[in-house]
Structure formats: structure tokens, C-alpha cells
Amino acid sequence: MKTTLRVSFAATVLVAMTGCAAPGFLDLRAPVAVSGNADAGAQKAAVCTACHGPNGVSPIPTFPNIAGQKADYLYWQLVEFQRKVKPDSPMTAIVAGLSDTDLRDLAAHFAAQTPAPASGDANAFADGARLYREGDPARGFVPCQGCHGANADGNVGGGEARYRAYPSLRGQHSPYLVQRLQDFRNDKYALSSNDHIMHGVTQALDDQAIAQVAGWLQAAPP
């Protein structure tokens, strides 16, 4: 009993000294607006274009289109990569040496590019459309449009700060979306408050539902 207490006391001192707040947690519940220099970003974008295409439209479907994406979202994603949200991602190494200004400029640059055109047959993804718009109470799935907008362009919010960091999904590569949703569901992408929301939201989705939603988004909803 005495020993236990003594050990506990020693432990305390250690804990108190090192601290134990969640490392790297990113609170995006009320982010300040991100601004950057798009022109400067264009100068720094060379490293991005290899994977994400010269204008931010990625030629490889497992890499996301970033053209026309919301600057705030892009910036916070880069910050997450800097905080090693997914250590095995190539992005982790790429962003490691960038300054905060670099991140802002890059975000501004790609946000200013023309978004990717739709591709695919939206009619093949009727279930995805329903899940996106109405959710599925039977499986406990919440409609995506509440946060990502009726047109999946992320333009909702009526000025509420938190919506700044909610991405546009319209025309995004389906394979990328599938990977991303699976990561959320499996808690492999969990750093920001928004990641925690997505983790909760995706619990109700099986792979088939994920494919449907992702396919429908790539086909660019009306």
C-alpha cells in the first residue's frame, strides 16, 4: 500500500512535468480566415504540380484535385500534414520544410485555379446521391449536405467561421474520396476537430456506401 502510494507520487511528479495534453490537436471550430499571396504561391507550387497537376487538377485519381478548393481548407490540411496527421503520406515529407507563409500562399494559389470538370455518370450513383442529400436514418448516417452544401461546393455557413474549413467535394476524384472516407472511418486521420466529426459521421458507412457517395461526387452533382 505504502509502496503503491510512493510509486504513484513519483508518477505524478513526472506527469506534471511532462504534461499530457493531446499532441498537435487542431481546433477548427472557429478558425480565423486564411489569407495568402496567390502569386507568391504560384512561384512555390512547382513541388505540388507533380502529383496534383499543373493547375491543381490531379492526373492521378488517388491524389485529390485541389484546384478551386477553399483556401482555408487547403491551408489547414497542409498544417495537419505538418503535424504528421498521416505519417506515411508523401505529403508529410513534402510540407516538412515549408513555412507558414508558404502554406498560406500555396492555399491561395490553388484556390484561385479553375476546379476540375465532372467525370462519370451521376445516374449510376443514385444511392450516393440519396446518402449525400438525405443521409440514411436506418444506418445512422447523417446527410453530407448539411456541412458540404447542397451542391457539394462547400459554400454554406452564412458567415459562421467553422464552415471555412469544410471542403468543396464537387468533382473530386472518387478513389481519393474513398480512401479518405475509409481513413476517417478507421480513425487513421484524426487530428482536428473536423477529423473527429468525420470519424463519427463515417461510422455508419460501409465500403459500398462510401463508393456510392464518392462516385456521385466525382460525377459532379447538379
Partner: protein
Amino acid sequence: MKMLRQCATLLLCGALLGIALAPAHAQQTREEMARNLPASGLSSDELKSTQVNLIAAPGFAKAHVATNPGAPNATPVGEKTCIGCHQLEADHFTHTLHALGLHTANKADASIPVCEACHGPGSAHAQAPLTRGLIIGYTKNSGTPIDVQTKTCLTCHQGGPRDHWTGSVHQRNGLSCSDCHNPMSNFSTEGLMAKQSINDTCAQCHQDVRMQFNRRSHMPLPEGQMSCDDCHNPHGSLTNPLLKTNSVNETCYQCHAEKRGPFVFEHAPVRESCLNCHTPHGSNQNTLLVAPIPFLCQQCHVNQRHPNDLQTAQSLRSGAHPDERIMGRGCITCHANIHGSNAPSGAKFHE
């Protein structure tokens, strides 16, 4: 008896401490808990796997999806859908008595909702969470009118102590149940209050009254030994100001039964109202008196001879002519049984 109680206490503490210091067993982390959050109850698969042969407790048997006039076309979505976005709320809510009852009832009868019993059907809100009023909200700017909020709570909680909510001073001043209660987590150990205790909750608006309890003599409220609700029913009552019983005196007698009598010899203002001489919350005088003795008594007692004399500081123990009518207990040094006397010679409360 004392020893028995002490032993029982020590035993209990010892046993519990033992448990605490033993290696943790089967303890769930918060994350594990979150993963085991309740099912929506709306999926047939889940129903099959978790259904228990149980009848919902009568208090929850008639719980149903609340009516939200702000979203007439909305349909229920089930708890799991709500938790999709509201994970933290679920984490905190799960340990409340409401959650325990609703979850159990929902397991027994899938038509009994959990979140939507209070918040109304969720489909419209889920699709347009920024449009106010699509979900029954209990917060400022939720878009749900106060009377819809209170009516929703009263669906289950009507009657009994809340029988006279309508027309009560709190209802008339536009209070909502959620001004005092926050059932989303155990903020208080009892009563699902919005603050840490009943007293702290009342003090949100009644800080002036709360302050009176800091005075020299007071009811044992700052010491946590009683609550505002011991005397008042904030939900409405038949007696002003929201007293729990039919009169001021009846309220006081609940703890001061010895003052009830009726005595052989009564003191008229005492029988009429304790508040003729005492303040209910706190006073700078001894024993919650309204004014210092003898002046308290001299508001009424002119009479003849000794009651109507004006005393000065010279009548104090430190003065030139100390006088028992003002020193120490003053008048009640002799008229001690001032609340009433049962002595045949106690007509003047001397005995």
C-alpha cells in the same frame, strides 16, 4: 451507535480504496466507450442483435418524438445519426439519468426515441443544420420559441411539482426549463442543473438574494446544507413567493417544528408570519432578525412603562448605566419564550 457508524464508514472507505488501488480491470477507455455508443434503434439488424425481452419503464413508455412546429415535415433519424456529428454531446449525455432511461426504453421498444424525444424529428435539421428552429433547441438563438421548449419538457414532466408552472412568476418572465436545467451532462450531482448546484443555478438571476446568505446570520445555504428548493418551488406554487407550502410559517415549520405549537400563549405577529421579525435568507443581526433588538420590538411595543424607553449607547455594558433591555439578548433576556409559551405563567413569555 456512533461507533457503529464510524466503523461502517471506515469499512466502506477501506473497501473502496482497496478496489481503487487494485489493478484496473475491465475498465473502458473513453474511446472504447465511444465505440460502444448506443445503436440508432432504427436499423432492423441492430434490433435483432440487441433486443432484450423487456418492457419500457412506465416513465418512458409513452416517450415519443417531440412535436416541433418549426419543422412540420421533418422525420425522425434516430440517435445514431445524431451522434454522427454530436459525438461529444453523446459522450457527456450517456451518464445522465435521462440517457439511462431513454436508452433502456429504446432497447425495449424501438419506437421510443432518445435524442428526438426532446429535440423533435431530426431530418430537416440534419440537412440544413444552420436553419434555426428545424430542431427543438433549448439555447438562446436556437430558434425554438420558449413555450415550445417548456411544453416539450412538460410532455413527460407535467403535473406534480410542476402543476402550477403556467402563470407562475418564472413562466411569466419568459424562463425556459433550460435556463435552470441542462440535462446534457451531469453538471450538478443532482437535479441536472445548469450550474453546479441548485443554489448556484438560482444565483444566476438572484445574486442579490444569494448575497444575503453571506451575512452574519443566515440559513445554512452557503455551507451546502440546504438549497433554495427546500423552501421554494421554482416551478410554480400556490403561495407567493413560490413557497412550497401554503404559508410562510408552514414553510419554516418544516425544519423548525418546535415553533409550530400552538402554544398556550401566543405572540400575535409570530403566529401571523415569521417574517414579521426575521428575514428569511440572512441578516446582519443575530438570528436573522430584521432589525436590532430592542428596536425590532419597539416598532410595536409602546405600551406603558419599560418597553417604550429610548435607550442610548450609555445603556450598553460599556456605558454609564448598563441595562438588560439592550445588552446581550435585550428584550428576550426576560421575554425568552417570545415564540410562544406553554407555561401557565408564560403570558408575557417570561417562562
